[in-house]
């Protein structure tokens, strides 16, 4: 049932041979980190106003929008001697279960106060599932690992407000 002949079979190696003269396209991750595009949805972040008050008012819209049900918000009232957020209430507990999150970004679409955004950090693996439950303090803090981001002007037009600070 021989259909090709052995000489023709070798012709295919020409394609392989040509690659010698090309620059490799592989990137030496993790030494080199390719800049992600600005719209890339990674690790979440919570934001604060310039005066230090939290933007989140504990309305739970993000939890309502989440298709994976991975956000838990428990709100409490702001008082005169304990003012946390700019609104009437604040999120006493704000947890995201990162092992359930599907990074669809519905939470940032849902948030009417631009309090939660999806940043560009993607290196969020942990050894234990418990460590993947992000608390409010973790989400409010600056991410430890920074990721380079490609030109926002070119790859994200118009710049949505909610991505400006992420």
């Amino acid at each position: 049932m021989a259909r090709g002949n052995p000489i023709d079979s070798v012709k295919g190696f020409g394609v392989t041979f040509k690659q010698i003269f090309k620059k490799p396209i592989t990137q030496q991750y993790p030494e080199y980190k390719r800049p992600v595009y600005p719209r890339f949805r990674g690790r979440h972040r919570l934001h604060v106003h310039e005066n230090g008050l939290e933007k989140c008012v504990g309305c739970s819209l993000c939890a309502a929008a989440c298709p994976a049900d991975c956000i838990r918000v428990v709100a409490a009232e702001n008082t005169a001697d304990n003012r946390v957020s700019a609104g009437e209430r604040y999120a006493r507990i704000y947890e995201i279960n990162m092992s359930r999150c599907i990074f669809c970004g519905y939470c940032e679409l849902a948030c009417p106060f631009d309090a939660i955004t999806l940043g560009n950090e993607y290196e969020i693996s942990e050894y234990s599932r418990d460590d993947l439950i992000y608390t409010k303090d973790m989400l409010l803090a600056e991410p430890i690992k920074k990721v380079p981001v490609a030109d926002r002007d070119l790859y994200d037009t118009p710049i949505p407000y909610y991505q400006e600070h992420s």
Binding site: R3, N5, V36, R39, I102
Partner: protein, 423 residues
């Protein structure tokens, strides 16, 4: 649906119109024979395209019996979607067939739009066409890479995944995620197209035909490849139709049928493309169909880009405040927008009562979505007609007179994605 009349008869004893078995029975005379060896192929065999389990009866090297066991990847997508509002359910279909995710998303979004009677802006329609074709290329590249890898052509795998990565980069740029994008929303697109998309996509469109030529040069004349694909896994046109095949499997059997042309959706009516068909119904022909489709899809993407480039500044999503989230800048200024926003996010939009079936040509064939709405904020029933599941039914028919080594080539050529088979 036309069958080429000059098509050579593939093999005698075509089983039409008697029912076609989807299980290959061990012949009467071999039953109970001591020469029979029953082998479990999978469920975690590296060349099963996911967690497919095939129980294979071997007589020497010949496959005499075959039964597919599925369900290892069942996740209950359809049932899960019934628990979510329409808006949230959009994130589910793209995870069913994770290789042609954008087509899966589109079919559900089209079903919602059909029930709502929603008009989609022109820009959204063209961008959807563009992304769906890019997605077809992506899916075919993964197929080609893995199918070739299973037959021992490892360098093919690297080259295919190189191009696949540039498609995924385009997705990352436009949609924010490399695979599961949720970019199509009822009414249009979730976000505008970034300016940087066009030059990058042009680069890809210019490169892709050369890459396909390279793939063909790599294997087309290779003796091993020819031996392992030509004349194997025969599926006649009659059998293919009787088994309900669609997509590359059907077109590889010589049936000229493509939903993009037969029932045009999106912008396919205004596009110039060819539907490749090959007459023999073997593994080789299915491979050729995939190759030609990649070239055609590249042409379609180029045409879409031509149109999209002239549409800057046009709306990308319908202006229907009952369904579409209001623009973000209005949330801080307009009370009415804020109320609509809260209503849509918490309760979801309501879709009129009714049932609808939408079918489109995904990378694997006719992908159908049957949706029933009871008028509430959640779908009452969602059912997908998965082309992979149907393709898997042809395994037993294709396996006539196959050797155990051909089994891998044949299962690979049917291009099944187990996520879609089990759902």
């Amino acid at each position: 649906m036309a069958i080429a009349s000059d098509r050579p008869r593939i093999y005698e004893s075509s089983r039409v119109p008697s029912p076609i078995p989807t299980v290959l029975q061990v012949p009467e005379e071999l039953r109970g024979s001591e020469d029979l060896l029953q082998v479990n192929f999978g469920p975690n065999h590296p060349s099963t395209h996911g967690v497919l389990r095939l129980i294979v009866d071997l007589h020497g090297e010949n496959v005499v019996g075959l039964e597919a066991v599925i369900g290892y990847l069942h996740t209950g997508f359809e049932k899960n979607m019934e628990q979510k509002t329409w808006w949230k359910a959009i994130t589910y279909p793209e995870r069913i067939d994770y290789l042609s995710f954008q087509n899966n998303e589109l079919v559900f979004v089209l079903a919602i739009e059909k029930l709502l009677g929603l008009e989609v802006p022109e820009k959204a329609t063209w961008m959807r066409t563009c992304l769906c074709e890019l997605n077809r290329i992506h899916s075919h590249l993964v197929w080609l890479g893995t199918a070739a890898l299973e037959l021992g052509a490892i360098s093919m795998f690297w080259y295919c995944f190189r191009e696949r990565d540039s498609v995924l980069d385009l997705y990352e740029m436009v949609c924010g995620a490399r695979m599961h994008t949720r970019y199509f929303q009822a009414g249009g697109l979730a976000e505008d197209i970034p300016r940087g998309f066009f030059p990058e996509a042009r680069k890809f469109v210019d490169w892709m035909p050369k890459a396909v030529d390279d793939y063909e040069r790599l294997v087309d004349q290779n003796e091993i490849w020819l031996e392992r694909t030509k004349g194997l896994g025969l599926l006649s046109a009659e059998d293919a139709i009787a088994l309900g095949q669609s997509g590359p499997v059907l077109r590889g059997s010589g049936v000229d049928w493509d939903l993009r042309r037969a029932q045009p959706y999106l912008a396919y009516e205004q596009l110039d493309f060819r539907v490749p068909t090959y007459p023999n119904g073997d593994v080789w022909d299915r491979y050729k169909v995939h190759m030609d489709e990649m070239r055609e899809s590249t042409r379609i993407v180029a045409q879409c880009l031509d149109r999209l480039e002239g549409m800057e500044g046009q709306p990308w999503i319908a202006d229907d405040r009952k369904v579409v989230l209001p623009p973000r800048e209005e949330l801080h200024t307009s009370m009415e927008s804020l109320i609509h926003h809260f209503k849509i996010v918490t309760e979801g939009y309501r879709v009129p009562e009714g049932e609808v079936y939408v079918a489109l040509e995904s990378a694997r064939g006719e992908l159908g979505c049957y949706v029933v709405s009871d008028g509430g904020p959640k779908p009452w029933r969602v059912k997908f007609r998965a082309p992979s599941f149907v393709a898997l039914e042809a395994t037993a028919t294709c396996m006539t007179d196959a050797l155990v080594a051909d089994l891998i080539a044949i299962v690979g050529s049917l291009d099944t994605v187990m996520g879609e088979v089990d759902r």
